[in-house]
């Protein structure tokens, strides 16, 4: 299905958030939000995706 991941449209099978992230090749340390709502890592597997969902996967970065 069509998923907007970090602002870019991708075609990901899902069906859940955990697998979709894996399909997108995301690894390492990051946190996720689905449709602007935080999804804790332990909830990713049980969070099902639907077409058009928006995922943000954020990593540590420089900050002031």
């Amino acid at each position: 299905m069509k998923i907007i991941l970090n602002g870019e449209a991708q075609d990901l099978a899902g069906p859940n958030l955990a697998e979709a992230l894996e399909q997108a090749g995301l690894t390492g340390r990051f946190a996720t939000a689905l449709n602007e709502a935080f999804v804790p890592s332990h909830m990713r597997a049980q969070t099902l995706l639907k077409d058009g969902d928006r995922i943000e996967a954020l990593s540590p970065m420089q900050g002031g």
Binding site: R29, A31, F38, P40, A57, P60, M61
Partner: protein, 256 residues
């Protein structure tokens, strides 16, 4: 002695991690300065997986990490970002930035208090980036904040303390609250001045990262902060209008 949610800092300099010429220079700046806190943020992972290497780098710094909500303009955005930061950085600390104005990057004190309440109730230890407004300060404390971080001047302006008079009033208004001057510092003397007013820490980034020699400036800022703190504790002389001889007058020779 005032602590930050029970934590005593190893050094009263809180240093940002952005805008350095290279990760190596960033790491050295922390090493040389002995800064007591590192501020960080959350962003979308880059192609090269910079996020993961950055995580490694700051983990090695060996200082508490203070994630921020930089760039957030709404309560919802800030709260969600805080939750994501707590998971990624594995800390309850959050530097709550709720930007209300694009040119000055000044905090939106209304959203700030609202977001602070939500986060404090959710177990966060909030470090609010605020103004010198005493009423806002009271609201933030009532919302559950145990630290206040008034701005010295707009972020990145390097102007130094724009309103020392009000910042001094804030210090005396909240004698038991840890206070941090956050943003606007440009020179070591600015940082020293903040500590001389009795502030507990200084948070800065641009002044160090964008200096010609970031490592040297980091060290300079660290020394200035310590100097200001030490000077404050040493009970300085009062400024006076007239001069007063330092060299003793008594025993002066008659040679005219």
């Amino acid at each position: 002695m005032r602590t930050f949610y029970g934590t005593t800092l190893s050094h009263p300099l809180m240093l940002g991690t952005a805008q350095y010429p290279s990760p190596a220079i960033l790491a050295q700046a922390f090493k040389e300065s002995g800064a007591g806190v590192a501020t960080v943020s959350l962003r979308r992972e880059g192609a090269g997986g910079e996020g993961q290497s950055f995580w490694k780098l700051i983990s090695d710094l060996g200082v508490p990490v203070l994630p921020n909500t930089a760039g957030c303009h709404t309560v919802k955005e800030a709260v969600t970002t805080a939750h994501m930061a707590r998971e990624v950085f594995d800390t309850k600390w959050i530097k709550l930035e709720l930007i209300g104005h694009t040119d000055s990057l000044q905090p939106d004190v209304f959203g700030l208090v609202e977001a602070a309440k939500i986060l404090a109730e959710d177990g966060f230890e909030v470090f609010p980036y605020t103004t010198e407004d005493l009423i806002v300060g009271e609201r933030l404390l009532a919302a559950g904040c145990e630290v206040l971080m008034p701005w010295g001047a707009p972020i990145g302006s390097g102007r130094g303390l724009a309103n020392p008079y009000a910042l001094r009033a804030m210090r005396s208004e909240f004698p038991d609250v840890p206070l941090v001057i956050d943003a606007g510092i440009g020179l070591p003397s600015h940082a020293a001045q903040a500590m001389e007013m009795g502030y507990d820490a200084v948070l800065l980034n641009t002044a160090v990262a964008r200096a010609g020699n970031p490592v040297a400036m980091a060290k300079a800022m660290a020394m200035a902060v310590e100097a200001g703190k030490l000077g404050y504790e040493a009970d300085p002389i009062e400024a006076r209008d007239m001069a007063e001889a330092s060299t003793p007058v008594i025993g002066k020779a008659f040679l005219t």
